[in-house]
């Protein structure tokens, strides 16, 4: 290979570097991961944040120094210090422990509602795009209705009508996810059903349902992963907003949004730590999933690449 210095007219292309940049040295999952991390440093940062939150949620009883529900009247509104790392709330409960345990609530509600929303969204989108005809028409009208309200209003009405509980909050937040997922899956299915492999399956005498589930659905996994990651952040935010308004996760669960509603406007003056830390936890968790979601979109959806 002629070196650039020996050949002044040529462009300085280092083939090894270019090949590495294009991913030619990716041989296994470890080098593949390293390759993507180098390529999407912000996404990797997001993944680290998400992993930290998942670990905090999983090992909450070992990480949290105190019982998140234990009250202590003498420690009411204690400022951050050696005893209460991030201060204590009005009832003297340790904020740090509550935020660690809050990761459980946030992640549980976020993951469960995203999962539920994706499940129903995929089913509706697949049926709509594959069966077409009156099924498609009916499902499209239902989706129109579900999208006629802003996300938070929809979740608010659902939460109010189901009553306050952890499970109902999950259901309420999953409802606005459904139309988003269904629309994306439908448009993907419309393109996929014209593909030769669907025709081949049909020629083999496969039933329509089997074709839809075995051949079309697996090909919609990439957009679903991208969409689910984006929805996860918004689900965490919606839970926080609902709980902040007092219509989400009820006491005694330590929800980040709920902590802010307890401590809202009046504590802005008297106990700012009660306002700062739960909000910081929400923002960081959502920021992490958003960073990760952006990187996943770049990796999995080549059309979106810039």
């Amino acid at each position: 290979m002629p070196r650039p210095e020996n050949n002044p007219g040529a462009m300085a292309i280092d083939h090894d570097v270019e090949l590495a940049r294009a991913g030619a040295n990716v041989t296994g999952w470890a080098s593949g991961l390293l390759f993507q991390v180098r390529r999407h440093p912000l996404g990797a940062f997001g993944a680290v944040i998400v992993v930290v939150f998942v670990l905090a949620a999983a090992f909450a009883p070992w990480i949290a120094p105190l019982d998140p529900l234990a009250t202590n009247p003498r420690a009411s509104l204690a400022p951050p210090g050696s005893e209460y790392f991030l201060g204590a709330d009005f009832m003297g409960r340790d904020m740090y422990s509550r935020i660690i345990y809050g990761a459980r609530i946030s992640l549980a509600v976020g993951l469960a509602s995203t999962f539920l929303g994706c499940l129903f969204g995929i089913a509706l989108g697949l049926m709509s795009g594959f069966l077409l005809g009156w099924v498609d028409l009916a499902i499209q009208r239902i989706i129109d209705i579900m999208q006629a309200l802003p996300l938070l209003v929809m979740a608010l009405v659902m939460a109010a009508s189901l009553g306050p509980s952890l499970e109902n909050t999950i259901i309420a937040i999953s409802i606005p996810v459904i139309p988003h997922v269904a629309r994306v899956i439908r448009s993907n299915t419309l393109a996929l059903r014209e593909m030769p492999f669907v025709e081949a399956a049909r020629a083999q005498g496969m039933s329509e349902v089997r074709i839809a589930v075995r051949h079309v659905m697996p090909n919609t996994i990439a957009p679903v992963i991208v969409l689910a990651t984006a929805q996860l952040g918004s689900a965490i935010l919606t839970e926080a907003s609902l709980s902040f308004l007092g219509l989400g996760v009820p006491e005694p669960h330590p929800s980040w949004g709920r902590m802010l509603s307890e401590s809202a406007a009046e504590y802005v003056r008297t106990a700012p730590w009660l306002v700062i830390f739960p909000g910081l936890a929400i923002s960081l968790a959502v920021f992490g999933t958003n960073l990760l979601g952006d990187a996943l979109r770049d990796i999995l959806d080549p059309r979106e690449r810039s």
Partner: protein, 315 residues
Amino acid sequence: MVSYIIRRFLLMALTLFGMSVLIFVLLRLVPGNIVDLLFDSAGFVNPADKALLEEELGLDRPIIVQYFDWITGLMQGDLGYSYVSEQPVWTEIAPRIPITAKLAVLALVFSIIFGVPLGVISAVRQNTMTDYILRVVSLSGLSLPSFWLGLIILMLFVQWFGYMPIYDRAPESFWIELGMYMIPAAAVGFRSSALVMRLTRSSMLEVMRQDYIRTARSKGASERSVNYHHALRNALLPVVTIIGIEAAFLIGGLIVTETVFNIPGVARFLVEAIRWRDYPIVQNLVMLIAVVVVFTNFIVDLLYAALDPRIKYSE
């Protein structure tokens, strides 16, 4: 075009009808109505009194009858009476609409004057330090809960100026009102500006790869002229859509922001009405929001066709 508009109108009517059924049924799924709430708080319950009040409010009749009462009233412009204040629903809602509308417009203005220019800068300087910083800032805009942002702003005001910029009295003049709404509007608009910025950026990047941009460059047009006259004009089309849709969706952000800043708009009123199971207020407010969303979508679609001659709605 005419038949397209007619078809859209019919679909909108269908959507709104579906929404009216959905909201009506959902509200009545709730265990406990306002009568239960009132009697629970009173402690002593005389079942006869309770039945009397339910009869007075019409809550004892079949749900279908209640629904038709509401819809026929709605058609005639009669929204019913609030359970809580016993005032006509319209006199309760009407004075609150302009407040929320003003907040939404201010937030929208905020999102456009920050979102579009920053999106352009980010795209023109793609993959530079400026671009990275702007992208992280916009992503944080999508990650901060707007109520928390509002609380943090309140906190900074207390620290620096010793007072809270919340709504504590009716504003005397237009300028005082504007000043009062500026901060909550910014708290809500930050999120929208982040959305607008991201979309402007990706739309600009898409357009900047087109052949006519290369043509403009090869003709010797200045970088500035290429970016602003050729690229931005075409890149703004999808941005118009998102701005239109955001306009309607801002109400979601306003629900929490009006609560934080104590602003007596419709968004906060909805939450209060939900807490009190004040069905007439909730169902009419939700319908109002749905009408605004559906019509905004319709107008954005028409605007899109008007701005982009390539788009024609089929007959």
